[in-house]
Amino acid sequence: MGDLVTELEAEAQRRFVRWDAHLWRALVEGPARALAVALKSARAPEAHAQRVLEAYLRLASEGIGLGYLFPSHVGENVFTLTFMSLLPRSLPALPATRQLQTVADCWNLGENLEHAPPWLRRLFLRILVRQDGLGDLEALVARVTKEAVGKPSSTLGKHPRIAWVDLGAEERAFLPGDLHFVAPTVLCVHERLPGEEKATSLGVWLADDPLVLGPMGCRETPGATSDRMDLMDDLAKREARANDALNCSANEWRAGVTLETSQFVVALLPS
């Protein structure tokens, strides 16, 4: 491994402007070493283990050079999650025939998401954080794709199911204001602040079990929307806590309501 590490580092130093030698060292001594040990413990044939490790290191060095992989104190993305944590942890447990493909899949997913809308990056990050392993990455991507972007099969109906989503748990001082849909089931909630420049926005995936996606960096300025008065009236009748609706955004399948005096967003889902 030593020669390969030195060779990749020397090559990367020549190639990349933003090569981070410290991060590379940390990766080699941490996750890469853990992967090497785990592959050995899993009794993978040496030649195969070497190939997996080389693929992992080669792609990781490229990721550092391109700025896809960054130190944990800067933040987290799908790249850092998969290369620093998920791959070293779960790769040895996969069938040998799947290991190299999974390394390649993680790279492709991470790189493609770098060019995808922020909400999609956040969505995959939040879902992958919950994963124990990368056993069926392909199926996971297909499911998320279908559920987050495709048109849901059920429409909202007259009396939708109510789910309360606490945005204060994500950002302590966040007070939900205007909101809009960025995908059929993905809601972007803007902070209610008079100085709009500082206002942030949080994403919520209105899945069966709604998932807060975190900061969206949305630059849109959604206007106040209250064209679904029927939904808001119905909500007020059914939920005493929701009688001070501030804003509502709805599509055929989902709706979100912010309240005057709450950090919660009320998600309306098909019953």
Binding site: Q13, R14, R15, F16, V17, R18, W19, H48, R51, E54, A55, R58, L59, E62, G65, L100, Q101, V103, A104, D105, W107, N108, L109, E111, N112, L113, H115, A116, P117, L120, L137, E138, V141, T145, V149, G150, A183
Partner: protein, 509 residues
Amino acid sequence: MPQDSLLSRLLEGRAKVAPDLTVHLSDRDGKDLHDKMRQAYWWIVNNAILCPYYDVEYGQRSNLKNNSGDEVLLHDSMSYSSFVLVPMLTLFSCRRALLIGGPGRGKTTSAILMALLSGMTRDEVRRSIQRGHPQLTIADLLGAPLPSDMLKAEDMSAIKIGWRKWISQRVKIIDEYNRIPTKTQSALLSLMAEGYAEMFDQYVYAGRSSWFLTANDDAGGGTFQVIEALKDRIDVVVRAVPFSSAFLETLLKRIEADKTPEELVPRDVVFTTEELEQIYAAILAVELGEDVRERLGFFLGQLDFCRMASPQFEAKSKDTLKLAGQSVSAVCNEQCPLDKKVHLCTQTENGVSARAYQTGLHFAKALAYFRGHTVVELEDVRQIVPFVLHEKLVPNGRSPFFEAKGRRVLLQDRVAWIRHMFDMAMEQYPKHEPVRRKVRALREELDQGLEGVELKTAQKRIAQVTSLMEQLMKGQELSGPVYEDLIHLKSMYSRYQNYAHWLKQSAAR
């Protein structure tokens, strides 16, 4: 890209498992080229040129002042160093830059770095640099006929020319161009201006290329006077900046490592020919909206005007003075009623050519592209125009404008002076804009064509044009912008009159 299309390909990408069971990563395509440009820029600033002077600035500004009136401006958005940025924009827009400044300030290094970014090897760059010196002949510069052909040839077409290789390279570096003898400068001029060189009825073409010329002192300090036409072909001027002692440690490390910055250019920021072509095309495709265009026109259009140049209306330009061997400073006096503190025409000895307009537009687009934008902002124009006009505008040092407190210093710094003029023009623009809008509306009507326009309609439009001209003549003093509008309106008037005259003649036949 549609979301479903993107999602269907989330697991497809550059990483593939090859049949030999290795993971192969293919090259990136060109979709992040402006990001790559910025990476190259930051690498140069942080590792090669060591430049702490950030003078191309964006965003809201705040200032720090001391009691003596010295001021430091702090902007809240991205800032760049012109000494690195402008050569880079020259490289990507295939233009011609002159880098001026004292010896050892990094002019040649900057030009070499640009050549390396374009994919040339260090050996190629070293061999292709043309170093100006008093004995440089046309043959040294361009090449020479093959001696054996000279003896055997019965006509000129049989003489083969051994053209110098640098001529067809994408990046051309002429070091100390003001040390080149005048005759050789003329050969250089045709190569720079027309893109080809000729010898014994044979031609060599320069192709699409970026030029970097350096000079220690462009104000006559070279061995030879640079011919005006050659100077005029230079699109942009960049001033070298002094070394900052804050970077002394980096210099020490370079000595200890025995490496020059040129040896360390990362491959990641080297552009292929295809990438350079893609960027060139993408820069041209950057949008420049009507408002920005109008404002730039408002600024540049008034510089050529001189009310005192001629009694004839059409000849009130600084060109008239120049052709008569006169200067603005000689006629810009109290006999001209225009307020010299307000009107820009007093500040310059000349106006700018159509070539300068084009260069300004091209560089503004390049700057917007570099910043990752698809549309040029007014601030892009404001930032880049001083470098484009640096050698093109000559200040009228005797103008009363420069006599006011704090203005004299502008004569020493052309970038600051031109930017100051630009700002003055932008302050004046809103006041004049309603007139411009009316002129534009009349122009748009004319641009729709005269086919099928009846005599009655033409006469109605003549009346509208005349009425607006009358308003301008009576309601406003004859300043640069008003003069431009009047000239424009008069051209419309003449076109309609010619058309009406033709209609009448046709009817009479």
